[in-house]
């Protein structure tokens, strides 16, 4: 794998994470429990999709085959997507959506903070822009995890169930493969494993305050970063891509 191939792979991972999570979160639009949350979720989705445009735009540039961010988003098949499995998990109830967001936001804010030191200026600039938004997302999702976890018996039970469900999917965020090692060596991005300790600390602090118990199992569901996805991704892509697939090049 050449440096640019690894760089392209890394950029797809960043862009696909925000694209798929952004799409998932946008599914709440018009369905949230209260209006304020509907607006908050829609705005979070917008930020993530805006970040996707920057990551996938740069990915297309690095690849050098003339593919735009839109081409990459709308015209790739499931096995070419590089997002972690966590972000394609179904929304479930509001608690599951917020828990998934929190676990992701904690990783995302750490990752972006490190990427601001990237040896590639374009990566550092995108990270600087996105990290402001991610910090705001984390503030909100952490706050809600505490309020719901340390809330009523019902909300506590739902948040604990959400944590138990999502937990085995968080390990993939910290796995390193050949592409990760190559971009880390080039100073483009940190080795994902190097974020684990700080993430553990941050997440443990919030979950403890939320009176939630961290699951003990060490099993890690993985595959998304290499293109092996759960069945959920296919449904997301079917909805997200059908228009460009049915009417190639359509604009409005």
């Amino acid at each position: 794998m050449t440096r640019d191939e690894a760089f392209f792979e890394f950029l797809l991972r960043m862009g696909d994470n925000t694209l798929i999570l952004g799409h998932r979160v946008s599914e709440w639009c018009g369905h949230s429990p209260v209006l304020e949350e509907d607006i908050a979720l829609a705005n979070t989705a917008l930020d993530l999709i805006g970040q996707t445009q920057m990551w996938l735009g740069l990915a297309g540039e690095i690849e050098g085959k003339g593919r735009s961010a839109d081409d990459l988003a709308y015209l790739r098949d499931a096995w070419d997507f590089r997002n972690v499995l966590l972000v394609e998990r179904p929304n479930g109830d509001f608690g599951q959506t917020i828990m998934r967001q929190f676990l992701f936001d904690a990783w995302h804010s750490l990752m972006l903070g490190r990427l601001m030191q990237s040896s590639d200026t374009r990566v550092a600039e995108i990270a600087a822009k996105a990290s402001k938004e991610a910090a705001y997302h984390l503030e909100r999702s952490a706050d809600l995890v505490v309020r719901l976890g340390d809330g009523t018996a019902e909300s506590h039970a739902r948040m604990q169930a959400a944590l138990d469900d999502h937990w085995p999917y968080t390990g993939e965020l910290f796995l390193s493969d050949a592409a990760d090692k190559a971009v880390a060596e080039a100073g483009l991005a940190p080795d994902p494993a190097s974020l684990k300790e700080e993430w553990d600390e941050m997440v443990t602090r919030v979950l403890t305050e939320a009176t939630l118990a961290i699951p003990e199992g060490a099993y890690v569901h993985k595959g998304g970063k290499a293109g092996t996805h759960t069945e959920h991704l296919g449904y997301i892509l079917a909805q997200m891509q059908w228009l460009q697939r049915a009417y190639p090049g359509a604009t409005w």
């Binding site: 952004g22 304020e36 949350e37 607006i39 908050a40 705005n43 979070t44 989705a45 917008l46 930020d47 993530l48 999709i49 805006g50 970040q51 445009q53 920057m54 200026t121 600039e125 995108i126 600087a128 822009k129 996105a130 402001k132 938004e133 705001y136 503030e139 909100r140 706050d143």
Partner: protein, 156 residues
């Protein structure tokens, strides 16, 4: 237009200062701090614009409004460039822009992370309702004295 007749960049700034932000029309795109540079490259006018939030849906509309305003002034060769670095910050809101927001009923951003008083009645007895509001750049707050909800322009 011939090179001799090119308007000065100062003049262009004045024109841009009359282009309203589409979502908060009381302030201009210049007040908002998103116009980062205006320059002539030969006979082409280049305007550098930075997005407030990366997914802000108004970005495209803002570019269209800027282009339209400059075309109406007779600018023929024009390019709008997106500049993401340094990232937009609410520190770039002009003083006049902050005052206009306040007069309009939107609490201007504060370093403390929340408004220090209600833009309607001036009471300091305010509380946060939601971290997000009607646009990506705002949050929702409420005054506990006059009981009116209001928008707060997030500080980033």
């Amino acid at each position: 237009m011939s090179t001799a007749a090119l308007p000065s960049t100062d003049e262009v700034w004045t024109w841009l200062d009359q282009v309203p932000d589409p979502e908060i029309p009381v302030i201009s795109v210049v007040d908002l701090g998103i116009v980062r540079g205006v320059e002539w490259q030969d006979d082409t006018l280049v305007v550098h614009v930075t997005p407030t939030y990366s997914g802000c849906p108004a970005t495209t509309l803002i570019n269209i409004e800027i282009e339209k305003a400059l075309r109406d002034r007779g600018i023929e060769k024009l390019r709008i460039e997106r500049r993401i670095s340094p990232a937009w910050t609410t520190d770039w809101l002009s003083e006049r822009g902050r005052q206009k927001l306040e007069d309009y009923g939107i609490a201007p951003p504060q370093a403390a992370g929340g408004p220090d008083h209600c833009p309607r009645c001036g009471s300091k007895n305010v509380e946060k309702v939601s971290q997000f509001g009607s646009t990506p750049c705002k949050a929702q707050w409420r005054c506990k004295d006059c009981l009116e909800p209001f928008d707060y322009f997030k500080c980033i």
